[in-house]
């Protein structure tokens, strides 16, 4: 393996590709559609925080990432759409393939990658200087997309995010005038406007009340009829309710790693690793 200079994002050909097997059976390697992480490592400066994670996120599925705090879930999810590189000393190794294409390849434009792999953050964060409509359309402006019919995009995205009925009469109100749960759905609508194929969500419900959480979970399931959703969550019930596949991360003080990944039912009822069983039963974490 090539040694990494600090701050360098490196591509490393790893000879021992051991992609996790959870979906390999029914999606052949050759024309895999969706997002695929291969042997991912991550560093902050000299601090190795993520070690050799390989995972697949097929189209039209929801994958839950679970694990105790500090095991690198956020770092991993930010690696999947090239947000990791904004942290000054951050470095990575491995590959992230979208429909078979390495998003870290030198000729790939990072902004285009992020356009197709959207992200929703922990705290609902509509743009404060914009109203609801402008918030939904902000991505189109940011990415300089040419679209004919703004109104239908606004309606379509708000509908998919399950917010249209509540806000259709006040599209000119600021995002801040909505409740926390509505704000988060507005943020989802905003991400959808640029038509991503993958939506990454880092604990999207941890700042919300149970009712809003359920609304967002419904939204997530509907989204997964079209795109791949990756959701980090601390809430076991949420992972069980919303995800098709689940991946369990852990750290023993050193870099975080993937313990196991499996269809959610199996991971929760019959995990192959005893630590997974302990974690999903709430024995630690």
């Amino acid at each position: 393996m090539k040694t990494l200079k600090q701050g360098e994002i490196a591509m490393v050909e790893n000879p021992q590709i051991n992609v996790v097997t959870m979906v390999e059976a029914h999606s052949p390697q050759s024309n895999f559609r969706g997002l695929e992480a291969k042997n991912i490592h991550a560093w902050f400066g000299k601090h190795h925080v993520l070690s050799d994670v390989s995972l697949r996120f097929p189209e039209r599925t929801v994958t839950g990432l679970i694990g105790p705090s500090g095991c690198g879930k956020s770092t991993f999810i930010r690696l999947l759409n090239r947000m990791h590189e904004f942290i000054p000393s951050a470095a990575m190794a491995g590959q992230v393939l979208k429909d078979g294409e390495d998003i870290y390849a030198p000729e790939i434009d990072a902004a285009t990658v992020r356009l197709k792999i959207g992200m929703v953050f922990q705290k609902p964060n509509p743009f404060p200087a914009m109203n609801i409509r402008e918030n939904v359309l902000s991505g189109i402006k940011l990415a300089h997309l040419k679209v004919a019919d703004h109104d239908s995009i606004v309606e379509n995205c708000l509908t998919r995010a399950g917010l249209w009925k509540e806000v259709k009469d006040r599209l000119n109100a600021t995002g801040g005038s909505l409740s926390g749960g509505q704000q988060q759905r507005l943020c989802i609508a905003r991400s959808l406007a640029v038509e991503p194929n993958v939506l990454l969500m880092d604990e999207p419900c941890s700042a919300l009340d149970p009712g809003s959480t359920l609304r967002i979970e419904e939204t997530i399931k509907e989204l997964a009829e079209k795109i791949a959703v990756v959701i980090v969550t601390h809430n076991m019930q949420q992972a069980a309710r919303v995800s098709d596949f689940c991946a369990f991360f852990l750290t023993d003080g050193g870099p975080g790693y993937l313990v196991e990944a499996a269809p959610t039912k199996i991971l929760f009822t019959n995990p192959s690793d005893v630590r997974t069983a302990d974690y999903v039963q709430g024995k630690f974490g």
């Binding site: 904004f86 902004a111 992200m119 905003r190 640029v194």
Partner: protein, 326 residues
Amino acid sequence: MDGVAKTEIIPVPRELAVVYNRADRIFRRIVTSGALTSLILLGLIGMFLFVKSAQIFNDRGISFITGSNWTAGSGDGVIIDDFSIGPMLTGTILVAVIALIIAMPLAIGGALYLEFYAPFRIRKILNALLDLAAAIPSLIFGLWGLAVFTSFGERWSVLLNSRFGWIPFIKVQNEVFGRSPFIAGCVLASLIVPIITSVTREVFSRTPRDLIDTCYALGGSRWGAIRTVVLPFGRSGIIGGAMLGLGRALGETVAVYLLLNIVFRYNFRILESEGGNIASLIATKFGEATEYELKALVAAGFVLFILTLAVNMLAATIVQKSTVRK
């Protein structure tokens, strides 16, 4: 429903008294008196200036502000005292506004570069240099302006005049070009750029990280993120920084004194070699002033005091109105 007595009487609200403990009470007194001290000091200064200059305003009325003569009487009645500050007042504003117009784009651009584009190591060095530059006495800037900048400034003036001479502001009557409001404004701009950059950079750095990340996650560029969240979020800080710079430029004495040809005539042609400002007027005349002239100088100071106060209040209002509420 036993035990739940239904009452018709609406109770009188109890008083909710906030009781501070001992340490809080003492601390509160200290900070209150600190705040009051500066307020009282400001009031006293204003009062002093007003009392000392009351006679002038009484004698001369509004013509003290509109007139354009500063003549000390000869004492024997042949030449009589005639003091007014019109050109100095407009000159003050003119030079300060020129400085601000030049300084703002530089400062905002610099702040954006430092916060979003500069490599980490360069950023640290530049920040340190910036703080250093903000602490350089204005006299040094004045001397630099005189010794170094003037020759560039004159060349730029010639260029400006040849291209845009048809604009009234940029027209000149005498093609001298040195010691003009433009040159003084340029030097004042370099004087206030560091402080404005510093303030705006600080505000930019407080833009919530997840809003910026959101812009990137939507496929936006750095510039997109700056336009979408950083500038709207930093608007009040930009205005605050501008006002800080304007305040400094309005009150600047030495640099203007060194760089401007002080002439008592209304002049709005920025390349013309004449101008002035109140602070430098006071510095020039103070040494050999008669008793009555001294009062006129204090009155000029009072006008400057009010002007600065007004600018700051205006700034506070704008900042309050434009603050982005989350």
